[in-house]
């Protein structure tokens, strides 16, 4: 099941789980990331940048920060930090690890994977969303699921295709 990024963002804004950035520099950001990656961005990623997502729940979005006076501000995580793993970081997990959007999917809707800092971000550890839209929905409910003790594999109710991601299994099959 594919959920468009714009629809997911709209839903999260209504639920109060999503915050947007103050300024809209999406055009500059898309151009800048294109230069950093050296390739065209997947449509979902461009849509994500256009939505100006700052944070979802406790998770901060990762994107270049433009300042009209300074220019591109230095950030701890850059768009090309996961290029070796063929991914682009989009969210921090709050503990130093990253969620990255797959860049090797080609024409297929790219999935989102978890990259562990203990593995030095070498390869995706487990699938976090079969698409960027569904990933945003799962991310918003992640802490709540832990807090309220939701049953295992609750993610499948929101993202039924989670176990079909090609590069890594779902977390319950990750070992």
């Amino acid at each position: 099941m594919e959920v468009r990024v714009a629809d997911a963002v709209q839903r999260l804004v209504q639920s109060g789980s999503l915050e947007r950035t103050r300024a809209n520099h999406s055009a500059l950001i898309i151009q800048h990331v294109r230069e950093q990656l050296g390739q065209e961005l997947p449509p979902d990623l461009a849509d994500f940048y256009r939505e100006c997502v700052a944070r979802v729940g406790d998770f901060h979005a990762i994107m270049p920060v433009w300042n009209d006076r300074v220019g591109w501000r230095p950030t701890a995580v850059k768009a090309n930090d996961l290029i070796a793993a063929q991914a682009v970081p989009i969210f921090s997990d709050g503990c130093g690890s990253l969620f990255g959007l797959d860049l090797s999917a080609g024409d297929v809707t790219p999935a989102v994977y978890f990259f562990d800092h203990e593995d030095e971000f070498r390869s995706p550890q487990w699938a976090a969303g079969s698409s960027l839209g569904t990933f945003l929905l799962l991310l918003a409910d992640g802490d709540r699921a832990y807090r309220e003790g939701w049953p295992p594999k609750w993610e499948l109710a929101i993202d039924p295709d989670l176990e079909k991601c090609p590069r890594a299994p779902a977390i319950w099959n990750a070992g």
Binding site: A76, S92, C95, G96, R147
Partner: protein, 396 residues
Amino acid sequence: MPDGTIDPASLDGDALTQWYRRSPDEIEQERQDAAAQRYQDFFGTSRNTDEDPDPGLDRGLPGAAQDLDPGFSRRFATPTQDIDPGFAWVPIGPNRWRSISSSPDTTWSDPSGGSAVARATGALDRRGAGADDGGRLLLASADPVHAVANASARSSPNTLPATQPSVSTAGYRSPATPPLPTFFSSLFGGPVPLTSPEGNTIGYYDHQAAKAALGLTAEYSQIAPLFYPGGWLDSALADGAATAANVGAQSIKSRVASAPLSFPEQELWQGKSVARQIAPRLAKGEKDVLRAAARARYAQANGIWASDMGAVVHHSDGLEYAHLKPDADPNRLANLWGLLPEAHAIANKEAAAFRAALNGRIPTQAEVMAVKLKIDRMVAPYLQRAGVSRPGPRPK
């Protein structure tokens, strides 16, 4: 460090390794050197450690024969003269004296039942008193004849002279009652009374217990596993008698010389986790749950989410090796640090270097702790604390 010892947090590399590999004797020597240095810094004089009133090793009798202030007694013409001729010392009980005016009109009643007329000129009844100490402290000797005679006549600090009936111990006052025995001293019959050649009790000393404590501490690490079910004893039985023999026979130094930074005799109670990896590594799902719990716990303890401070929650004792310490909660508050992402990148880099150096080997707990301390020192300046004014998250 303030007490003169070396701060291991300031060491690195080989220096840190050598610090870990010190033997108990070296540790004790370092402690004594630091104590001697502190004494010298305070009093400005050198101090013979053999006369340490609180020695840690058996050096025979205590070195209580030396004045804390050697120059004190030399300020007086003769030790037998009163500092103030108008006053004299009269006994009021065993090992207790009182100075009273030696005016002819002054009388004093001995609370012990006797009476004495205080006269500095000699009318004073000194039968119950020892020799005039000139204001210096006296030995707690029941025999007044063998009281202090001359502070300058110092005998060997470790023995009582056989020919000289009195010994200079000015500055030392033995307690009226023996000190309470320590845990270790009670194993050896309690504090040892010290007696002069004449048989008088002049004090108490716990040197045997102090010496035993060093050896017992080293031995305790081997017997402690017996109290842990399924601990060292199981592995010892599995490996046969050779394991038990090796643990007792090898010294720390010889074992470490041929092995990485490791103290298996100190880690026996967790021997299974260190040596055989009985506990498997954390699964990815477990790590994810732990990290979510860590963020929540950090927020609960600090009243603010780490992300609101622009920080990430860093496990100082990483989850990667949490299985090596199965009894330690990875999400204990002391282990959760709020770090700037840039600082966390520093920690990641150092952890990666450690991982690469292992070359696939399972690290010991000591090695994990050593790298943890190293990383802690590196990132401590970048800790984010709730309530401390620091640059917050950059506005987007």
